[in-house]
């Protein structure tokens, strides 16, 4: 929203020594966020009101024209113009040589000089609004649009500096609308003036337009409000003798300063009141609300499903029964609180109007505006919960102004006021001590009273208690409890004036969070020891992807309103999206080592309580690791070894139990259950070759997925120290050929158990292929023998080693190699 300094100054006095920049900062620090302070004339040196005298196609460029522009000099200037809307006779903002403009509203200021554009000389520029700092005042509808001042400026002013022709001598504050969604009272200039008066301690003028005098009762207005919750107040009055015309200059200037284009005196007056007070108004053509010119009928009701409303700009909308409409007996004449209809709008011929000043239910209006993609200045205000008392003030003000801009107008009906609202204005008992304690400042009661009063609160002081009455414009939802009042006092007092002081807390260490600690350690180990890179995937997954890996979507929780229509399901695993990332990265990298730590969602399992005696779907934290490298024919081992390494670092024991599985995702011969400290925590597999193909994986890919939430309880602080051996050890190697299906883990276990003197074994070679029969593999182990009682002699070791060889032959069918 734009706030005009001149407009505000109608209602309060801004101390002269305070610069516009400072006002912007003060508003930001005490009230709402100011995004920009715009000096209207800042960029208008050497910019004149011009008139386009002629327009000719540029011989060498399709999208350019050669124009001549009159701007008060003896001869018009020739310029090359790219404006899409340039026409002969148009009044325009003419930047003469020496003017400084911002090309397309961006970058640094550029001084205009004589130029030759595609072979044609150009002496200046017809400007777009944002090129001369008037973008907020004249918003562009398309990129190449120049600002059209034909209906805004007066032709007799051609040649005057633009700032003079448009009386642009105001400073405008651009307020971030998001910072005042909770403040219905700030959506007009008067509300901002109130804040400024509180900030600077200057007086706020009463907003007291003249009471309306009924001059005749030519019309009888029949208002029937069918839904008083959706419409707590509806006021209407008829005015006759209207002469629709151009608004006077001061009115146009007001509107333009806040970025509204003037239309005609009737529409402009309703707009100016809305921007002044924050209360939307609508003017109906009274003749369209009646069949006999006397009885004007207004029905405020919900629409029927499928009922059609046609907007002022001739667009049709199919309504629902949630939408509130303003109707006559037979037609909808407005979408309540949003926009009027083309069947009842004010035209140049209109002489008799009905003014609506109503209050509508915030949520109803917001939902209607959202449902139909039709957000207007009116709906934006209604959805903030406006004070119904504004209806009357706005009505009085609009009638007062109508008489000024269309002097022959007469009030031609009694004023209808259907009112069904109550506001809780308190009072709230506010303990002075409470305010001081909440602020951490010994603020005086006098200052508290001053601040509250300046904001319109009624305050009665009795002993240590302030009895505070909430003004109606703050009572709709904004202020309800004493903490709200503390905020009012503190923000006006100024947060910068509050000296920081640390709170006191008992010195106790916070409870440990084992899951977080493990996640942190794992990240370091996985990245810096195992050399995997961490990725972060969406929690949502696509059905096509699930199908490719053999998952059933019926097992999945599904979003009601997915943004990405292609990813509606809540992941049960990390692996699907991980594999997609492997695939993407394999296009650019020969090796892909990635891991992810994240939550998954299982509807069939019970998770944490939901605060209402039920439980949420379980959301365990998983770890997934994937490895693929071009040329690596057995990526499984990279993943399994890396995982074992990091688990070992955590003091955990991993083992893999091979399973044969007929499955879409996993390779039938390269799949295992993962056990940590003998607890089954997940799986590891190479992706099935066929699935790898459908997934587009360019290299064999292995993936591991384990449940960290189940691993965390297995962690203990135990690290057992072994005293250093007293006697030397002896090593012997043994190499043998055996069935390919025999598993290292079993052999290793048998070796270590074979004799008390075998203290360590290490697999140092595995080989298949040349010289090894089909279905067999060659393995070589180094066995370490040691006694705690003596130095072993060769012959002692020979005996044990022979025993072990025999065991290997017997138990594993191993053929010992020389």
């Amino acid at each position: 929203m734009l706030v005009s300094k001149q407009w505000i100054s109608q209602f309060t006095t801004i101390p002269k020594k305070i610069t516009p920049q400072q006002i912007g900062i003060d508003l930001t620090m005490h009230v709402v966020e100011v995004e920009g302070v715009i000096d209207e004339a800042q960029f208008l040196d050497n910019v004149f009101l011009g008139r386009v005298e002629s327009v000719q196609k540029h011989p060498n460029a399709d999208k350019l024209n050669i124009c001549t522009v009159a701007f008060g000099q003896a001869h018009p200037a020739q310029v090359v113009c790219g404006g899409s809307n340039v026409t002969e006779g148009m009044l325009c903002a003419f930047g003469s040589l020496g003017a400084k403009v911002r090309w397309h509203g961006e970058g640094d200021l550029i001084e205009l000089k004589k130029a030759e554009i595609r072979g044609v000389k150009s002496y200046g520029m017809i400007c777009a609004s944002d090129e001369i700092g008037l973008g907020e005042m004249f918003p562009k509808k398309d990129e190449k649009e120049i600002v059209d001042l034909t209906h805004i400026a007066s032709a007799k002013d051609v040649g005057k500096p633009l700032a003079v022709a448009l009386s642009l001598d105001d400073v405008v504050f651009d307020i971030d609308n998001k910072s005042m969604t909770h403040r219905p009272d700030l959506w007009g200039q008067y509300g901002m003036a109130r804040e400024i008066s509180a900030m600077y301690g200057s007086e706020l003028k009463d907003y007291a337009p003249a009471k309306i005098k009924v001059q005749e009762t030519k019309h009888n207005i029949d208002v029937s409000v069918k839904d008083t919750k959706a419409c707590p107040r509806y006021m209407a009055v008829a005015i006759d003798g209207i002469e629709v015309a151009e608004s006077p200059a001061w009115l146009k200037k007001r509107l333009m300063s806040v970025g509204v284009q003037p239309r005609n005196n009737v529409v402009d007056v309703t707009n100016v009141v809305m921007f002044e007070l924050g209360q939307p108004l609508h003017a109906f053509n009274a003749n369209k609300l009646t069949s006999n010119n006397k009885q004007l009928t207004i029905v405020v009701r919900k629409a029927k499903d499928g009922e059609v409303y046609t907007s002022l700009d001739d667009k049709e909308y199919k309504l629902t029964k949630e939408d509130l409409v303003i109707a006559t007996k037979d037609k909808i004449v407005a979408l309540a609180g949003v926009k009027g209809s083309n069947n009842s709008g004010v035209t140049n011929e209109t002489t008799s109007i009905l003014i609506e000043s109503a209050n509508f239910h915030a949520v109803t209006i917001r939902r209607t505006a959202t449902r139909h993609g039709l957000r207007t200045d009116a709906s934006a205000r209604y959805e903030k919960s406006l004070d119904p008392n504004l209806c009357e003030l706005a009505m009085r003000r609009v009638v007062e102004l109508l008489k000024e801009v269309s002097p022959k107008s007469v009030v031609s009906s009694t004023i209808v006021d259907q009112s069904n609202f109550t506001l809780d204005q308190g009072p709230i008992d506010l303990d002075i001590n409470f305010v001081q304690r909440k602020m951490g400042v010994d603020l005086s009661a006098t200052e508290m009273v001053r601040i509250l009063t300046s904001l319109g609160f009624g305050v009665k002081e009795k002993k240590q208690i302030l009895s505070v009455t909430i003004p109606t414009w703050r009572a709709t939802k904004d202020i309800a409890i004493r903490e709200d009042l503390v905020e009012e006092i503190a923000r006006v007092y100024g947060y910068d004036n509050i000296a920081p002081s640390l709170p006191t807390f008992p010195i106790v260490p916070p409870p440990k969070n084992a899951l977080r600690d493990v996640e942190t350690t794992l990240r370091t180990l996985l990245a810096h020891e195992a050399r995997y890179s961490e990725v972060s995937n969406y929690s949502f997954v696509a059905p096509e992807l699930l199908e490719k890996v053999g998952e059933h979507t019926k097992d999945y929780l599904e979003l009601e309103n997915p943004i990405a229509k292609d990813r509606p399901y809540l992941r049960r695993h990390l692996r699907e999206n991980m594999l997609e990332m492997v695939e993407h990265n394999l296009h650019r990298f020969d090796t892909v080592n990635i891991f992810e730590i994240g939550k998954v969602f299982k509807k069939e399992l019970e998770g944490e309580e939901d605060g209402q005696q039920h439980v949420l779907p379980r959301q365990d934290t998983l770890l997934a690791m994937a490895h693929a490298a071009k040329g690596d024919t057995n990526p499984f081992l990279h993943v399994s070894t890396s995982f074992t390494t990091v688990m070992t670092r955590l003091g955990l024991v991993v083992h893999y139990e091979k399973k044969t599985l007929d499955d879409v995702l996993v390779h039938p011969g390269r799949f295992a259950k993962v056990f940590v400290n003998d607890v089954h925590v997940g799986h590891i597999a190479e992706v099935h070759p066929l699935t790898a193909e459908t997934l587009g994986l360019d290299a064999r890919t292995a993936i591991l997925e384990v449940n960290l939430s189940e691993i965390v309880p297995l962690l203990t602080e135990k690290t057992q120290y072994q005293p250093l051996p007293q006697y030397p050890s002896t090593e012997r190697d043994v190499a043998f050929v055996l069935d390919k299906e025999k598993q290292h883990e079993d052999i290793a276990a048998a070796l270590i158990k074979a004799d008390p003197l075998t203290v360590d074994i290490e697999l140092f070679d595995v080989f298949t292929g040349k010289n090894i029969p089909e279905g067999k593999k060659s393995m070589a182990y180094r066995i370490t023998y040691r006694s705690d009682e003596k130095t072993l002699e060769g012959k002692d070791v020979d005996v044990i080693h022979d025993k072990i060889v025999a065991m290997l032959q017997k138990k594993f069918g191993a053929e010992i190699r020389a």
Binding site: G440, H528, L557
Partner: protein
């Protein structure tokens, strides 16, 4: 025998003079001391044939000769080694700039995880416990318990993700869902002060572009005690921000609105993100709304709290100059390998 010894010694010294490298020295050593046929070794073997009365004298002599020529041999060896070492400067010269081959892959921690860790470390150091919770959450914890009225716009489907067949659930739109959860968990029925930080992943129904994501990260923290006021909040925020940036950072508080705090603030920090020093919006904060305290089991007349929260993506984008928010969830190793 004596003559033989003298001649061996003479011969040795003669040959030693001709030795010019270590391998020749090795050869010389073999010639005289070789186990089987060394000239000196052979002499030593003849000791057993020496007459008893001569044994002592011959023995002493032999020892003397051995000691002498061994010494000469070792001196020569040391000389030759010194010579040899002078050559390795050329022979064994290496390229000190060449990396070890084959090249090894490196692993990288996600910048978001690192950012979250930095924040939680700062909070831990200030005595806050750290805990994350459900991402799929009850509307009760996401909205109701936080003083959001039933028709608040944030609840609309255009802002929040809902789940089919579970109208009571939603994907949490902020980590504030942890406020009441954690206060209930650690306040011992509203009788103990507490401090908690809760970082995590949140979701908003938003179209994705370079500056918008539907999946992003927030960090929030709260503290409850019997006396907490605006001055405390300002001090805690100053400490937290300084700890995070490891320097004094200028901050300012201005009015802001969030349903679960009253009063509410926006916190700006003064920073230079390439356009000179300016105020950058960093966090929302405030004193916990009495309705929220009540919901968590605290008596709001007795207990007060402060809470602050911030989005992480933008902070990290500012820190590293990342231009597109979509990189975080892209899994693109070209991006991830830079951190």
């Amino acid at each position: 025998m004596k003559e033989q010894l003298a001649s061996v010694k003479k011969e040795f010294e003669a040959q030693l003079k001709r030795v010019s490298d270590l391998s020749q020295l090795e050869e010389l050593e073999q010639t005289f001391f070789g186990r089987k046929a060394g000239a000196f070794t052979n002499l030593a073997k003849q000791m057993k044939d020496v007459a008893v009365e001569q044994k002592k004298a011959i023995g002493e002599m032999m020892n003397e000769v051995r000691t002498n020529i061994t010494k000469e041999l070792e001196e020569k060896r040391a000389d030759l080694q010194r010579e040899e070492m002078k050559k390795i400067v050329d022979i064994e010269s290496i390229d000190v700039t060449q990396p070890q081959l084959p090249k090894e892959e490196h692993g990288h921690i996600h910048p978001m995880a690192q950012g979250l860790k930095d924040m939680t470390d700062a909070a831990l150091a200030m005595g806050f416990l750290v805990e994350d919770g459900p991402e799929l959450e009850s509307q009760y914890f996401v909205f109701d318990s936080l003083n959001f009225p039933p028709d608040h716009p944030a609840r609309e489907g255009m802002d929040t993700f809902y789940v089919k067949d579970h109208p009571e659930l939603c994907m949490r739109a902020h980590v504030s869902n942890m406020q009441v959860r954690l206060m209930r968990k650690y306040s011992e029925g509203g009788t103990k002060p507490m401090r908690a930080a809760y970082p995590g992943r949140v979701f908003r129904n938003e179209d994705i572009d370079a500056t918008h994501e539907h999946t992003f990260y927030q960090f929030e923290a709260l503290a409850v005690s019997k006396d907490i006021n605006i001055a405390n909040l300002i001090a805690v925020m100053k400490e937290f921000v300084s700890s995070l940036y490891q320097r004094d950072v200028e901050i300012r508080f201005r009015p802001g609105y969030f349903p679960f705090v009253e009063p509410g603030f926006e916190l700006d920090i003064k920073a230079d993100i390439g356009r000179g020093e300016e105020w950058i919006e960093m966090a929302g904060c405030g004193l916990i709304h009495p309705n929220v305290l009540k919901e968590a089991g605290y008596d709001p007349n007795e207990w007060q709290g402060l809470a602050f929260g911030m989005g992480l993506n933008r902070l990290i984008m500012v820190k590293y100059g990342i231009e597109d928010i979509r990189h975080f969830q892209s899994g693109d190793l070209r991006f991830l390998k830079q951190f």
